[in-house]
């Protein structure tokens, strides 16, 4: 893993065309190009200003509850054999890291004079975060959601409705996230003058991966200060679950240049690694173009995109974001996966060691640690990015353990 430092210099990536190495880009219809260019310009214009930073910081702190703690999980550490810290994004308002990005983009949209936000959601976490951000900033919200996800994530649908967001069911395709993204892109082409598409992860055409990563980078910045304060040194490894990769990139952001900090990215293994039973795009996919970018994606021999499958709705997307792809390709980041059954066991372990019910997504990282203890040594300090709480998955989890 001897790579030159500059290779990973975050600030330099993506390039102007939105590329992280060979991944990324802007594979969209001409209709969207002016909007994306406008967005990129506005992001570059507003984001660095102290006015924006202050407003964003205030929202993150007072509305969102930042900084989130870095918790030394003593009891869980015992089951792993190294010192494990949890970066508590579950404590962010709404219960996951998603609000970091939603608040940032909603603020940007407001600065740009947009009056409406549209987005898609699978677990409902991002949709809920967008609904909150919309309300807090006085923007209308419409959310596209696959009909299957609407059924699976009933409680988050209720939450979003209560906040007055319009929920538009997506019946095309498999009725899951990938189809909802397509529909939201379509909707955007017809209303982009008034409407911002609040992309939920580090995916989609440039500049979305860049913008989302920027808004999520607060995780890593806090994490670095906190671990230095607690341990006086950098962690040996950071581990995060992900599909698009926003929580992982957020957590990794301040450490990408520090080659000694191992980075782990855990994707949804689903039932098993058979063709149609998984969401593990790094295991089963190959580079391809989906939703505006060149990424690692599940597809058949002709390039038709395949639906992913995992019990964790938030990981149920066939593609990995371009930056995550790049980190993997360059060897900077190790990837792993966890199967649904392992994930449920991991939920149990976290409940019983620390009294915390993790989101099924988050439990993928937990499961990986439990199943790969040999990769983490006794004197090591590991940070697990605890991306969300399991309230949204309560039904599924309890049905798994207690039946009914």
């Amino acid at each position: 893993m001897v790579k030159s430092k500059r290779l990973y210099e975050q600030q330099r990536l993506p390039d102007k065309r939105g590329y992280f190495g060979k991944y990324g880009g802007q594979f969209v219809n001409e209709i969207l190009m002016p909007v994306l260019i406008e967005l990129d310009e506005n992001f570059d214009r507003y984001y660095p200003t102290s006015e924006f930073q202050e407003e964003f910081h205030r929202l993150q702190r007072d509305y969102g509850g930042r900084p989130t703690p870095l918790y030394y999980a003593k009891n869980f550490s015992k089951s792993i054999g190294s010192k494990v810290y949890l970066k508590r994004e579950d404590l962010l308002c709404g219960g996951s890291h998603k609000l970091n990005n939603a608040l940032g983009q909603a603020l940007l949209a407001k600065k740009m004079g947009k009056s409406r936000l549209i987005t898609e959601t699978s677990a409902g976490q991002h949709g809920f975060a967008t609904a909150m951000a919309g309300r807090a900033l006085g923007l209308e919200v419409e959310i596209f959601m696959g009909i299957k996800d609407i059924a699976r994530q009933a409680s988050n649908v209720k939450r979003m409705k209560l906040l007055g967001a319009k929920i538009t069911p997506v019946k095309t395709g498999a009725g899951v996230l990938k189809d909802a993204v397509s529909d939201t892109l379509r909707e955007w082409t017809s209303c982009s003058r008034t409407t911002h598409y609040l992309m939920g992860s580090t995916v989609g055409p440039h500049p979305f991966p860049k913008i989302v990563a920027a808004f999520q980078s607060v995780i890593g910045k806090e994490l670095k200060n906190q671990i230095l304060e607690k341990e006086g040194r950098l962690p040996d490894a950071i581990i995060a679950c992900g599909s698009g990769g926003s929580n992982a990139i957020g957590a990794f952001s301040s450490f990408i240049d520090d080659n000694k900090v191992r980075l782990y990215f855990i994707e949804g293994g689903g039932g098993n690694l058979d063709a149609d039973n998984s969401a593990a795009a790094f295991q089963l996919g190959k580079p391809g173009i989906l939703h505006g970018a060149l990424i690692q994606v599940l597809q058949d021999e002709y390039g038709q995109i395949k639906s992913s499958k995992t019990r964790a709705a938030g990981l149920n997307y066939p593609g990995r974001g371009p930056q995550i792809c790049y980190l993997y390709d360059t060897g900077r980041m190790k990837v792993g996966y966890a199967f649904d059954e392992e994930v449920f066991e991991a939920v149990k372990v976290m409940c019983q060691t620390e009294g915390l019910i993790p989101a099924l997504e988050t439990a993928h990282a937990i499961a990986y640690m439990l199943n790969h203890k040999e990769e983490f040594y006794g004197d090591e300090v590991i940070v697990l990015n605890y991306s969300g709480r399991g309230d949204k998955d309560l039904e599924v989890i309890t049905r798994r353990f207690y039946g009914d």
């Binding site: 802007q26 219809n29 095309t172 391809g288 390039g303």
Partner: protein, 282 residues
């Protein structure tokens, strides 16, 4: 027939061009082949031959459903290319392939363009390839001899328009985006504006698409300066009402094609009229 030749022929005939867009294999290959035959017989000057993709993000509900059905019924890119070959047995007008970028990307862009060229296509539209990402496609197109058709919209900036016009070959596909041009502006007004903007940079033919489903639309757009029109989901809408026996809808499809083509002709005449150029009513 080459694209340029077709446009020359049409301008000699004093007609606007009509391109009909279908997704091949929906609901099955036989129907697609008969449908194309009927379309051509009743007025289509170009065929936009869609190779179904799993995630057609630039298409509306009708064509999404079309892609889904076709894929579910087993269509593949190789079968589509076979389809083009079959069509070429009795068809002379230009065939423009439409598909999303992952299909040529996975096949290898140059290999894919060679194959469709060989099968008999003249151009390709890849709606999810922006000018920024078009180089591999342009390079291969030039090498293989396939026109890469670009889209422009009323929102496209002057600078982009210039660069797109420079890169374009075959024709430009004008997308009249709903909701973007403002409610009061008519289809004709916005087309006129865009045509005028394009003309500053290029003489390339202009085809207007998206949302054209009536003779009047076609006439208005052509009279405003477009060289032709494209209809897409309006066709799909017709046969999707009878998917059990789609052949039964062919007479309706024929009537639809005739209507649109008539609009193209009327529009052309109206334009000439407005320009005070003498013409003979057809």
């Amino acid at each position: 027939m080459e694209i340029k030749e077709k446009f020359r022929e049409l301008s000699e005939e004093k007609e606007g061009a009509y391109m009909a867009h279908i997704y091949y294999g929906d609901p099955n290959e036989e129907f697609s082949l008969s449908q194309i035959e009927i379309l051509v017989k009743h007025g289509a000057d170009f065929i936009e031959f869609g190779i179904p993709f799993s995630d057609p993000t630039a298409d509306g509900a009708i064509f999404q459903a079309a892609c889904e059905r076709a894929l579910r019924n087993g269509i593949t890119p190789p079968k589509c290319i076979q389809g083009i070959k079959k069509l070429r047995e009795n068809l002379d007008i230009p065939i423009i392939v439409t598909t999303y970028y992952n299909i040529p990307y996975i096949a290898g862009v140059k290999a894919f363009l060679s194959e469709i060229k060989e099968a008999g296509a003249q151009g390709i539209i890849v709606p999810d390839v922006s000018l920024e990402e078009a180089n591999p496609l342009l390079d291969a197109g030039r090498e293989v001899g396939i026109h890469v058709i670009f889209q422009v919209t009323p929102l496209t900036t002057e600078d982009r328009l210039r660069r797109i016009a420079a890169a374009a070959s075959g024709f430009l596909y004008v997308v009249n985006v709903e909701g973007v041009t403002g409610a009061r502006e008519t289809l004709a007004d916005s087309t006129l504006k865009l045509v005028n903007r394009v003309r500053k940079h290029s003489d390339i033919p202009i085809m207007a698409g998206f949302g054209i489903s009536k003779k009047e639309h076609a006439a208005a757009v052509v009279s405003a300066g477009a060289d032709g029109v494209i209809t897409g989901s309006a066709l799909g809408e017709i046969y999707q009402k009878n998917l059990e026996n789609p052949e039964e809808t062919l007479p309706k499809i024929a009537r639809f094609a005739r209507q649109i083509k008539q609009g193209c002709i009327k529009g052309y005449i109206r334009r000439l009229n407005a320009q005070n150029i003498s013409y003979e009513e057809v």
